[in-house]
C-alpha cells in the first residue's frame, strides 16, 4: 500500500436537531501513517468521538472524504461498509460492550464468525488473542465473572483477533481504575510497538494520551494543534 493508511480530506459532519443544524466537524484534514499511535483529545463536543465513528464507518460524513488503506469508504454501500469494518477495523469501547451470555472466548470469536474459518480454527485464534492479552486462563469465564480491566482486555482481544489494519479505541481506560488502565495502555503500547498496529484513541486522560506518538487536539470540529512525542 502506498501513501498514508488514513487520509481524511475536508471532512464535515453536521447533525440536525429539529430545524437547527449543528456542525460537529468543519472541514477537517488529517493523515495517519501505518504504525502510528494517535491520541485524539479535546473537550466534550469537540468532535473527537464523531471523528472516530466516521473513521470506523459507523457513521457517514456530511461532506468530505475518508480513505483508509486506499479504500474510499464513503463510496461503500451499507453491506459493503459492514464487511469492510469486519475486515479492516478493530473497535475498543469505553464500556467494553461484551455480550454477557457468551464466554470470553466466544466474545473474542465473534468477528471470526464473519470469516470462512472453521470452528476449530476460530477457537484457536480466539484463544491466541486471549493469551496475547494475558487472559488465556479466563477463556471460559463470562463477562460478569471478570473485573473491569479483564473485560476491557477481552474487548481488546476481540478487536485484534481479525488482525485489523486499524484499531479505534473510544476512551478505553475511561471506566477503569489506574492499575487496570495502565495494564490496558501497556497492551496498546505492545500492540503498536511490537505488532505494528495503527491505533487511534479518543481520550480525556493526559496520562493515556502521553503514551501515543502523536496527540491531536480538537476543538469545535477543527484540528487545533498537534503534539509529536
Amino acid at each position: 500500500m502506498n501513501g498514508p493508511l488514513v487520509e481524511v480530506v475536508a471532512l464535515c459532519k453536521e447533525y440536525r436537531r429539529g430545524e437547527e443544524v449543528v456542525p460537529v466537524l468543519a472541514g477537517l484534514d488529517l493523515t495517519i501513517e501505518a504504525g502510528d499511535y494517535v491520541a485524539l483529545m479535546g473537550p466534550s463536543g469537540s468532535g473527537k468521538s464523531t471523528l472516530l465513528n466516521l473513521l470506523g464507518g459507523l457513521d457517514r460524513p456530511t461532506s468530505g472524504a475518508i480513505r483508509i488503506g486506499g479504500e474510499d469508504i464513503g463510496a461503500l454501500d451499507s453491506d459493503a461498509l459492514a464487511a469492510w469494518r469486519g475486515r479492516t477495523i478493530g473497535f475498543v469501547f469505553q464500556l467494553y460492550n461484551l455480550l454477557p451470555v457468551l464466554t470470553a472466548e466466544q466474545n473474542v470469536e465473534l468477528p471470526l464468525l464473519l470469516t470462512d474459518l472453521d470452528a476449530r480454527e476460530r477457537r484457536r485464534r480466539a484463544r491466541a488473542a486471549l493469551d496475547l492479552v494475558g487472559l488465556g486462563d479466563r477463556a471460559r469465564h463470562r463477562p460478569r465473572e471478570l473485573s473491569g480491566g479483564q473485560e476491557q482486555r477481552v474487548g481488546i482481544a476481540r478487536a485484534i483477533v481479525n488482525d485489523p489494519m486499524l484499531l479505534l479505541c473510544d476512551e478505553p481506560t475511561g471506566d477503569l481504575d489506574r492499575k487496570a488502565g495502565d495494564q490496558v495502555l501497556a497492551l496498546f503500547d505492545a500492540l503498536n510497538r511490537e505488532a505494528g498496529k495503527t491505533i487511534v484513541m479518543v481520550t480525556h486522560d493526559p496520562r493515556a494520551a502521553a503514551r501515543a506518538k502523536r496527540i491531536l487536539h480538537l476543538e469545535k470540529g477543527v484540528l487545533l494543534r498537534e503534539e509529536v512525542q
Binding site: N53, S78, A82, A83, F93, N97
Partner: protein, 387 residues
C-alpha cells in the same frame, strides 16, 4: 448476507439471555398448539359422519324432526321410484346394558342394511348369513365387543330407555352372531333385526326412524330426493330427504356450528399468542440494543441482524408448536381410548399438522417482523451512545 449457519452461536446466546421468560413464552405457545390439536380432534370426532357419508346414499327423515318416526309402509313406495337401487331403514333403540349409565348405540335395522355399507361395515359372510337366519341375532361392533368382553355366541340382555316389550319382559335377549369391523365407522354400535324389535315392541309398531336410500347414480340424488318428498307431501308424516352428507352435517350442526366455534376459539388463542410472542421479541430486542449495535460494528450486516431476530422468533414458536402438537397427539391417544364410546373418531387429522406448521411459521414471522425490522434499522452510533 452472512451465511445463516454463522448466526447459530448468536442465536443460542440470544435464547439463553432470559431463560425464564423464554420458558414461559414457549409454554404459552405450547398450550395454544395443544388446544389447537385437541380442538382439531373434537372437530374430527363431531364431524366424522360427514366425512364418511356416501355420495350415493340419501336419508329420508320426518320433516318436522329427525327424531319423529315414519310409517314403515313408506319403504315400499320409495322402492318404486325410478333410480332407487336399495331401500332400508334404521330405528334408534336407545339401548342400555346392565345399568342406565351404560348407554349403548343400538339400532334396529332391516336385513339388507349391510348391503348399503359394504365398504364401511365389514362382516364375515358366514356370520352375516347366521345373523340373517336368526331374528333375535345381533351384529355388534368389534370395539364394543372388546370393551364388554362379548364373544360370538353370547346372549346379552339389552334394555331400551324408550321402548317396552309387549310381553312385559324387562329386556330383549340378543344373540351375538357376528362382529363388524371398520376403519371409518364407529365400532361401538349394535344392530338388531327390525323384525324382532317390531314384533316385540309395546308401542310404535310399524314405525321406523329413518329411511336409507341407495341410488343407482349419485347424479340422480337431488331428483330422487325431491320425488320422495313429493310422494309423501300433505301426509301425516311428510319427509325431508337429503344426501347422507347433508344429514350428517345437519346432525353435527345441532350442537352448534362446530367449525365456526372452534375457528373462533383457535383464532382468539393464536391472536393472544401473537401478542405474547411479539412482546417477548420486542423486549428481547430492546434489551439487546447495545449488543446488536456491537454486532453491526463488528461487521454483521443489517440483513444478518434481521435474520437473527426472525430466526429467534421462529425457533421459539417452532419449539412451542412441536411440544404442543406432541402433547395433543399424546392426549388424544390417551383420551381417545377413554372417549371411544362417545367420540369414536377423537383424533387429530393429518391436515391439522400441516395447518399447525403454517400457523407456527405465520406466528413466528408476524411476532418477529417488527422487532427484526427495528434491529435491522438500528443506527450504530445512536445505539452505542444510549448505553
Amino acid at each position: 448476507m452472512t451465511g445463516a449457519w454463522r448466526l447459530l452461536p448468536l442465536l443460542r446466546a440470544a435464547l439463553q439471555r432470559h431463560r425464564l421468560r423464554l420458558l414461559f413464552t414457549i409454554a404459552s405457545i405450547t398450550v395454544a398448539f395443544l388446544l389447537f390439536g385437541l380442538l382439531g380432534a373434537v372437530r374430527t370426532a363431531l364431524t366424522a359422519g360427514v366425512e364418511i357419508a356416501g355420495r350415493d346414499r340419501l336419508i329420508a327423515t320426518q320433516k318436522v324432526s329427525i327424531i319423529q318416526p315414519l310409517p314403515r309402509a313408506y319403504l315400499g313406495r320409495v322402492r318404486q321410484i325410478s333410480g332407487v337401487r336399495t331401500v332400508s331403514s334404521l330405528t334408534w333403540f336407545g339401548g342400555i346394558y346392565q345399568d342406565p349409565t351404560k348407554q349403548l348405540v343400538v339400532f334396529a335395522v332391516d336385513a339388507n342394511y349391510f348391503d348399503l355399507y359394504t365398504k364401511e361395515l365389514l362382516v364375515d359372510p358366514l356370520e352375516r348369513s347366521r345373523w340373517l337366519a336368526d331374528r333375535t341375532g345381533a351384529l355388534v361392533g368389534a370395539g364394543i365387543a372388546a370393551r364388554y368382553g362379548w364373544h360370538v355366541g353370547d346372549t346379552v340382555p339389552l334394555q331400551s330407555n324408550i321402548y317396552r316389550r309387549r310381553d312385559g319382559a324387562p329386556s330383549w335377549p340378543v344373540h351375538i352372531l357376528g362382529l363388524y369391523h371398520s376403519d371409518s365407522v364407529d365400532t361401538n354400535q349394535i344392530f338388531l333385526h327390525y323384525e324382532y324389535f317390531n314384533e316385540s315392541v309395546s308401542f310404535g309398531k310399524d314405525a321406523i326412524g329413518w329411511i336409507l336410500i341407495q341410488v343407482a347414480d349419485p347424479a340422480m340424488g337431488p331428483r330422487i330426493a325431491a320425488e320422495v318428498d313429493a310422494t309423501f307431501a300433505n301426509s301425516n308424516a311428510e319427509t325431508k330427504t337429503s344426501s347422507e352428507k347433508a344429514v350428517a352435517q345437519s346432525f353435527a350442526n345441532q350442537i352448534g356450528d362446530i367449525g365456526k366455534i372452534l375457528d373462533f376459539v383457535v383464532t382468539a388463542v393464536f391472536f393472544a399468542m401473537l401478542l405474547v410472542t411479539a412482546n417477548t421479541m420486542a423486549q428481547s430486542v430492546r434489551e439487546r440494543t447495545a449488543e446488536i449495535a456491537v454486532l453491526k460494528t463488528l461487521g454483521f450486516t443489517d440483513a444478518s441482524v434481521l435474520v437473527l431476530v426472525l430466526a429467534e422468533s421462529l425457533l421459539i414458536t417452532g419449539v412451542g408448536a412441536a411440544l404442543g402438537l406432541f402433547l395433543a397427539t399424546a392426549a388424544t391417544s390417551g383420551l381417545g381410548a377413554a372417549l371411544r364410546s362417545f367420540l369414536p373418531h377423537f383424533e387429530i387429522p393429518a391436515r391439522a399438522y400441516g395447518i399447525a406448521v403454517l400457523y407456527a411459521l405465520g406466528l413466528g414471522l408476524a411476532a418477529g417482523v417488527l422487532p427484526a425490522r427495528q434491529a435491522m434499522r438500528l443506527e450504530i452510533v445512536r445505539a452505542l451512545r444510549a448505553t
